[in-house]
Symmetry: C2
Subunit: 252 residues, 2 copies
DNA sequence: ACCTCGGTTGCGTATCTTGCAACGGACGTT
DNA sequence: AACGTCCGTTGCAAGATACGCAACCGAGGT
């Protein structure tokens, strides 16, 4: 829609993967280096990009400035923070907070696990709906018609042997999730990790976000993972209360 | 340099201050609303902006995705994290990590104080060099010629009764800072807050960033603040070691 | 049912962006 | 020390592109 803007934004993505030279960047987005230069200059003037000496460009401070403002916008994040930090501290496992955003899951907070094994995730990163516990929780919270619509629209990319691959299977899973009040990702996204997730609710009982714990399979087997569910639920309940949930609510 | 990009970036700034309507945004940057619409669409397609229902635009997830990548780039941040978190935990005061970026200070990490009084600062935010303790530390670390150049270029905006207002006074202060190894902001930036700051050094003894503690005056008087210096120095030393500093170094 | 407000589209024009080619400065090499 | 290469930078001209206009649409509110 706006060519130069589009190119500039793509450029930022390229820069994120390391400070390259002008020509490299130009090639990456398929334009003349002059164009890149001028885009960079504009980005730089807004502090979106920073030049480090010569032939070295990096992402600039405006990005994290804006990002923090964007995060502050998301009230769930603030109201859930304490409960999730506790959960992370007590269990030592990686805790995520995620919300639904047009057909995907977006991580809006993360508490790193205390083990050596690190997950490839990041605040702001997006993940698919069909193979994440948070995805299931978020979609399961929607009215049945919407669930179907989403389930049919998903591209069921196969990531592991356990990945769900059909709308039917997904919808059946969602029913269970809605029933139980929590979701499981049994190594459906990454081979060596499994997760449990539960919703954080707001004043009207509506689901604001999903919190999850991710545990490497080498640390805990499936039963061990399920044994964490009560702790998870205690944390999400606390987070919900902080988010205005009153406990009665029409939402189950 | 690139008009549409420039407008789009300005737009993001506007959006950060709350989700407005199309016309409001249009007025803010002085263009027709059609233009805003198209810019927003492009931004949206890259997840820089998110539309929330109708008449509500917010900053999107790409921002915090990129921001996190940008922060991961900054090695000082990672290597200092542990020491600063400890300092924050032990003292309960707000801790900042900042670095110098063309004529300003940029906060690259922040640990919130445990008291009710909150500071108006944010990771990614910029602050002046002349009235912050971190600013003094960072400039004091530069060779004398560079210090002078910077001192003369500063616009000495007066923010409180104690704000330094002349290059001469600033340079004299810098001499002291370089001597002592730490800097003080005695309510020169905000009336009710004073800070101490010390440098974090890298392998060659060069200053990578400045760490600071900010304390509301109601909690601690000036002497109380100075009494915190040893703890601060212990933390910055630890952070320096983690950042490759070997202790010898030519840097004092 | 009307009116207002916000968002959306099609279109022609003027502007802005683009790519080219040539320059300049910094390294590194022979 | 001189040369060659690699990057970044500038001026310019051509044409694509983004812009503003005006009209349309849909939702709320009166």
């Amino acid at each position: 829609m706006s060519q130069s803007l589009d190119r500039a934004l793509t450029l930022l993505g390229g820069l994120a993967r390391g400070g390259k030279t002008l020509d490299e960047l130009a090639e990456e987005i398929g334009v003349h280096k002059t164009t890149v230069l001028r885009l960079l200059r504009t980005l730089e003037s807004h502090h979106f990009v920073r030049r480090e000496g010569t032939r070295h460009y990096r992402l600039g401070s405006a990005l994290f400035d804006l990002a923090n403002q964007a995060l502050e916008d998301r009230d769930v994040r603030r109201s859930s923070h304490e409960a999730l930090a506790e959960l992370n501290l007590r269990t030592g496992h990686t805790v995520h907070l995620a919300s639904y955003e047009d057909g995907e899951v977006v991580y809006i907070d993360k508490f790193e696990g205390h083990h050596a094994v690190r997950m490839y995730s990041r605040v702001g990163k997006r993940a698919p709906l069909h193979c994440t516990a948070v995805g299931k929780v978020l979609v399961a919270a929607m009215p049945r018609a919407k669930r179907e619509e989403i389930a049919r629209a998903i591209d069921y990319v196969v990531l592991t042997a356990n990945t769900i691959t059909t709308p039917e299977a997904y919808l059946a899973e969602l029913d269970q999730v809605a029933e139980r009040g929590y979701a499981v990702d049994n190594a459906e996204h990454e081979d060596f990790i499994h997760c449990v997730s539960a919703p954080v609710r707001g004043a009207g009982g509506e689901v604001l976000a999903a919190a999850s714990m991710s545990v490497p399979k080498v640390l805990l087997d499936y039963d061990g993972l399920l044994a964490l569910v009560p702790e998870l639920l205690a944390a999400t309940e606390k987070a919900s209360v902080h988010s205005g949930w009153t406990g009665n609510g029409k939402g189950q």
